[in-house]
């Protein structure tokens, strides 16, 4: 005889004098200072004549995992209210999240209720392990979380509080507190929040700055930090010495002659290729792009892919390239900026290398390299004595010069063994793509994009090459099918998805089943 069908309306009823309990839950990643934030909020409430209670869950299960802090407060009427010890679904007034996905988790767990909950969340991301270990891009899509926030939250305060805190030299608990104060969800003045921070005694000035910035942003008086777009990343500078100006402009003439849709990507590609080797190499690159254009039609998507992946194919990562990058002035500047080296400080820079016999032999002239590769005795000797990690100090002269000498082999790179194998492999791939382009430019475009699988060094490189080879074999099975390009893309995505290639095997089986 259960008479109620719809769920009961279970909203808290206020006290006899109209006083209401305010419930606040904070979702944080273990080690993000959730405890400090909780203590601050309780202190502010108690300083404003409120009774307050907080609970947290400390322990090993919280080490870098997701954890919840919970606070309840109520205007002091002389009696102690019965505060709940943990948040419950549909009953949270303020939900604070110290990372975007933790904000989403709060919604999924029912702690953000339409028409009731103020959601205050930082929008920065801390990638979880599962997002980092995928060979391709394993990061979760954020749009679903943003969409759910718009629906679930009664009031939403969301911006990158991590960046606000870092800019002020403080930690996220300060900017979260500022966002809470600025949101107006708590009936306390800004000054009482600031008094509590002053009383905490550690890194007070930085915390107050972060608090203030976040407060203004939450109030709308200050713009939120914009995500770092490509625009404000340090833009590499093109440097063409006088005696090479003429040959460089010859390249630029050929690019302008290309269709408009291809010029931008080719413009980037040419800079990478010429920087990698020299102007002649640039011309070799443009030959490939132009060949692709002849077989292509507007909007030239295949040729844009050709411009992108031919640049990648020509600029393989050999010892010379690594040594060249590590000895550049721009690289030292970037390192100094990244690890924050002030003028009065000195930087020691140690590179971690592990060149094996294979890297050694492929950096020798072709004939000598092939000869050495056959000499198993020499290989055993090398592996025994030289095949170990190298720690090279590039801030010391001897270390720097050793890399300098290796990178000075650049002019004779074409004579080295590695160049031989790389060019044969790249040309085979490119010719196959051009052959396919005669009948199906969409499939050819995907074949070109397959070069994305070639990356990494030593066994990761080998594994990438084997997956690449297996996909290329399936071209004959797919040729002539209208959906060939889609299948090729699916194969590539499957290959990028997991390390061992089980998903790739599955996809190949399905193709063999119908195309067989």
């Amino acid at each position: 005889m259960n008479i109620q069908t719809k769920p009961l309306v279970a909203r808290r009823s206020p006290g006899p004098d109209g006083e209401k309990i305010i419930t606040l839950a904070a979702l944080a990643v273990g080690g993000q200072g959730g405890g400090v934030l909780t203590n601050w909020i309780v202190a502010v409430a108690e300083a404003n004549g409120y009774r307050a209670q907080s609970t947290s869950v400390a322990g090993v299960a919280q080490r870098t995992g997701a954890t919840i802090y919970y606070i309840e407060m109520c205007r002091d009427t002389g009696r102690m209210p019965v505060f709940s010890l943990s948040p419950s679904i549909g009953d949270v007034d303020i939900l604070m999240a110290s990372e975007l996905m933790e904000g989403g988790r709060a919604i999924m767990r029912g702690f953000v209720t339409p028409g009731r909950t103020t959601l205050i969340t930082s929008t920065h991301r801390i990638a979880a392990v599962s997002e980092k270990i995928v060979p391709g891009d394993g990061r979760f899509d954020e749009t679903d979380v943003y969409e759910a926030m718009g629906i679930a939250a009664d009031q939403l305060v969301a911006f990158d509080m991590e960046t606000v805190a870092k800019k002020a030299g403080s930690v996220i608990s300060s900017s979260l507190l500022g966002a809470l104060a600025g949101s107006g969800a708590l009936p306390f003045e800004r000054s009482s929040f600031e008094d509590i921070i002053r009383a905490s005694g550690r890194g007070v000035d930085a915390s107050l700055r972060a608090f203030g910035d976040a407060y203004d942003i939450a109030k709308g008086d200050k713009p939120a930090p914009q995500p770092q777009t490509a625009a404000d990343l340090p833009v590499p500078v093109l440097n063409v010495p006088k005696h090479l100006k003429a040959s460089w402009s010859a390249l630029e003439k050929r690019i302008i002659a290309l269709p408009l849709e291809v010029q931008e990507m080719t413009g980037l590609g040419i800079k990478k290729v010429v920087d990698y080797q020299d102007v002649t190499y640039g011309h070799q690159y443009l030959d490939m792009v132009e060949k692709s254009v002849t077989l292509d039609t507007a909007p030239y998507e295949m040729s844009a892919n050709a411009a992108k992946y031919c640049a990648r194919a020509l600029c393989y990562d050999d010892l010379l390239r690594v040594a060249d990058i590590k000895t550049r002035a721009s690289r030292f500047a970037r390192v100094k900026d990244e690890v924050v080296v002030k003028d009065d400080q000195v930087l020691h820079l140690t590179e971690y290398f592990h060149p094996r016999y294979e890297e050694f032999t492929t950096t020798l002239p072709r004939a000598l390299g092939q000869f050495m590769q056959k000499r198993k005795g020499v290989e055993a000797f090398y592996t025994k004595h030289f095949d170990k990690g190298r720690r090279i100090r590039t801030d010391s002269l001897s270390g720097y010069l050793s890399l300098w000498l290796v990178s000075s082999l650049r002019p004779i790179r074409r004579k080295l063994l590695r160049h031989d194998s790389e060019m044969t492999h790249a040309n085979a791939w490119f010719d196959t793509a051009m052959d396919v382009a005669k009948t199906d430019t969409a499939l050819a475009s995907e074949v070109l994009a397959n070069y994305r699988l070639i990356k990494g060094y030593s066994d990761t490189h080998v594994r990438g090459m084997s997956k690449f080879a297996r996909i290329m074999q399936s071209i004959d099975l797919l040729k002539g099918r209208p959906d060939a390009a889609d299948w090729m893309r699916r194969l590539r995505t499957a290959a990028l998805d997991d390390v061992e290639g089980d998903k790739l095997d599955g996809a190949l089986e399905t193709i063999k089943s119908f195309a067989g």
């Binding site: 008479i3 400390a58 709940s84 419950s88 590179e351 990761t460 990438g464």
Partner: protein, 714 residues
């Protein structure tokens, strides 16, 4: 050398009569012990009771002043055995440990103690680790109370009630000569609140005085025929005394109007959640005033039949609120009602779920059903009917990454498992037995190493069945932490392997502390400790146990050495257990000590080196092989913004502590040459400054000379 200094908390223990104590539940319990004249305190750390141990470890001054002895027991069994001091002497003793897992270890001593009985109050503070945030199997400690006939209090989760329960427990223990358990949940231990303190009291008799005039009584020793007398006493003397105490001292509380046609009998610990649910159903105000007749069991064992029957008298239905399973209280009450022929409808598990945490939602649904079925008139109309259409929120279950616990930034255990992963890539997979502690995180991505965990210090013990008939065949690898090793692993794991000629490999993960529980010192801790003798070698202990093949690795970050040693252990002809002791300091504790020191030294103008690692984004090809062998929070992925590239590249953020794991792994597994170590030197010596600027000029000259000869885009 606990994880954080507890100087502030220690001061709170000095509060006197009438002063207001403000702090967490577990600290209030510590203060209550001193207010009730405790003579000695022991225990073993573990959430949620670790702070009691940490604070007392830092309050040597107060303890000596009061003549109270405190020690960090080797295990929960030791701690409970320590309560023997209250058998013959009128000294109040208290021990604390983590719920089920602690009580499991302590149960042998608990049975002996409970059989003979006690003279001085014996209190066992159990931190129940059930529900959200728990790190153990979901069981109830209640079973031990029933089995050994030890009383159990479960007070309402607010500081005044918890503190009162400590005093009641001691009195109840003394009046009934029985040890008493005080059960406090995770959130009650870490609830911030206030209570009015009273003065600390010196123990009636302290342990030194007991030593000076020893006493014994054959009747109290657990050996026949005394054991049969003990059982008789339990049933005829101790149980009635306890039940009388519960009634006389009104330990259980009655709320609401007694004449109600329905009632609720609930564990003290669930009181706040029940009141909040009643408030949300319009049946109670936010101060707990309600018409619903409620019996709050602050003492959940033993129950007092008369009290229960009297409560149920004249009622149509009664709901039992008891979190966790099995439902011991409900079964006892059902038995009482049946025996006395009562016709009241007993509700409990069914309307409320059998297992799982009783969250706010669970309680609202359960109480809603109970009142709708048995007292619909009591439910206000506004609560039953509504025209509000619930707004459907999109399902995010597939768009959120899981975030399980893992190794901290710079953890010394990460390279051990990276090396194990590399060995498995060479020699294939092995059976891996895990233990309990931070090293258990190896079972999760990216390492996925470990098949079972059988308890603290029992990693190698759980692999003792595996004897490979083929001497050259595959061996198992088992892990045990330094905490688990000293707790019991020394004998149950290593000793057993030696004695039974087990050929498998044992890796002892030594991070200098009982780290997972908050970084408490243990026998092999390297820090000097005024009250503890530390720096005892694990290697010597193993040799003492008869281990022949043993290696000590002093820098676990050396992944190559770690891998080669493990490989040698798996392939050597030597017989018997192969033990590798991998030692490096827990980074979380190390940073808490080192960071302030470095900051101060830098300010004082001393030369300070801050290590940090980085990745060259132009050399990194975005295959993330390094991530599959690391999982370090500071090694993450970022977009390069370069249209020529598709995948995000590796990047190390400012939280890096420069431990070197990612560089060492890239080297050992020959991953890529993208990693570099930056050492930022504050207050460098003049020689260094001169040398740096001289080298800088030469390098700059070389760079400009090269750039003048080529087109560069960087």
């Amino acid at each position: 050398m606990a994880e954080r200094s507890f100087a502030k908390e220690v001061q709170k223990l000095k509060k006197g009569e009438g002063e207001t104590f403000t702090g967490e539940g577990i600290l209030a319990i510590t203060k209550a012990l001193l207010e009730n004249g405790v003579g000695y305190v022991g225990g073993y750390q573990g959430s949620p009771i670790s702070h009691l141990m940490d604070v007392l470890a830092d309050s040597q001054e107060i303890l000596t002043e009061l003549g109270v002895h405190f020690e960090a027991s080797a295990s929960e069994a030791t701690a409970t055995a320590m309560l023997a001091a209250s058998v013959h002497y009128p000294i109040r003793g208290a021990v604390t440990y983590k719920s089920v897992v602690g009580t499991n270890v302590a149960s042998d001593a608990l049975s002996n103690l409970a059989s003979g009985g006690v003279t001085g109050g014996a209190l066992i503070i159990v931190g129940e680790d059930y529900g959200e945030g728990s790190s153990i199997m979901q069981e109830r400690t209640y079973a031990f109370a029933m089995k050994s006939q030890v009383w159990m209090l479960d007070p309402r989760p607010n500081l005044p009630s918890i503190v009162k329960a400590v005093g009641d427990s001691f009195e109840m223990s003394e009046i009934s000569n029985t040890p008493v358990m005080l059960q406090v949940g995770i959130r009650s231990c870490h609830v911030h609140g206030h209570f009015t303190a009273s003065d600390n009291k010196r123990p009636q008799m302290n342990v030194s005085e007991a030593l000076e005039n020893p006493k014994r009584d054959l009747q109290r020793i657990v050996l026949p025929p005394a054991t049969y007398i003990h059982e008789e006493e339990k049933l005829t003397k101790r149980l009635p005394a306890a039940q009388k105490f519960i009634i006389d001292k009104q330990i259980n509380e009655r709320f609401g109007t007694p004449s109600g046609k329905v009632g609720i009998i609930l564990q003290g610990g669930t009181y706040n959640t029940v009141i909040r649910a009643l408030n949300r159903l319009g049946l109670a105000d936010l101060y707990g005033d309600t018409n619903v007749d409620m019996l709050v069991l602050n003492c959940v064992y033993p129950l007092v039949p008369d009290q229960i029957l009297d409560f149920c008298e004249g009622k149509d239905a009664v709901l039992i609120v008891e979190e966790g399973q099995p439902n011991y209280v409900e079964q006892q009450i059902a038995h009482m009602l049946y025996q006395s022929g009562k016709s009241v409808k007993l509700e409990g598990k069914g309307i409320l779920p059998m297992g799982g945490e009783y969250t706010g939602q669970v309680m609202v649904d359960g109480l809603g059903d109970f009142f709708s079925q048995h007292a619909p008139a009591m439910l206000p109309v506004a609560k039953v009917t509504t025209n509000e259409q619930p707004i459907s929120i999109p399902d995010l279950s597939k768009s959120l990454p899981a975030r399980p616990p893992g190794f901290c930034t710079g953890c010394p255990e990460r390279p051990i498992f990276a090396a194990t992963k590399l060995v498995e890539e060479e020699l294939g997979e092995h059976h891996i037995a895990s233990d309990i502690g931070c090293h258990l995180f190896s079972i999760m991505p990216p390492f996925d190493l470990g098949a079972t965990t059988m308890g603290f210090g029992l990693g190698p013990a759980s692999a003792s069945a595996f004897h490979n008939a083929d001497k050259k065949g595959r061996r198992s690898i088992s892990f045990v932490g330094d905490g688990g090793f000293w707790h019991n692993g020394l004998t149950s794991s290593v000793g057993n392997a030696v004695f039974n000629k087990n050929d498998n490999v044992i890796v002892i993960v030594d991070n200098f502390y009982s780290a997972a529980t908050g970084g408490q010192d243990i026998l092999s801790s390297r820090a000097d400790n005024p009250t503890k003798q530390t720096q005892n070698s694990i290697v010597d202990a193993c040799k003492g146990m008869g281990v022949k093949w043993i290696r000590q690795i002093d820098r676990t970050y050396d992944v190559t050495k770690m891998r080669d040693t493990l490989k040698e252990a798996l392939t050597t002809e030597a017989e018997g257990p192969k033990v590798i002791v991998a030692s490096s300091e827990c980074m979380l504790n190390k940073q808490r000590r080192v960071k302030p020191q470095m900051a101060k030294a830098a300010k004082d103008g001393k030369r300070v080196v801050r290590p940090r690692f980085g990745v060259d984004e132009d050399i990194c090809t975005g295959d993330h092989a390094c991530m599959r062998l690391s999982g370090c929070p500071s090694l993450s992925v970022k977009d390069t913004g370069d249209p020529l590239r598709d995948d995000p590249v590796a990047a190390i953020d400012q939280t890096c502590v420069g431990c070197g794991n990612c560089g060492e792994v890239a080297d050992a597994a020959v991953l890529c040459p993208s990693f570099f170590q930056a050492e930022i030197i504050t207050n460098p010596s003049n020689f260094e400054k001169r040398r740096a600027s001289r080298t800088g000029k030469i390098i700059a000259w070389l760079q400009t000379r090269r750039d003048a000869k080529r087109v560069a885009f960087a």
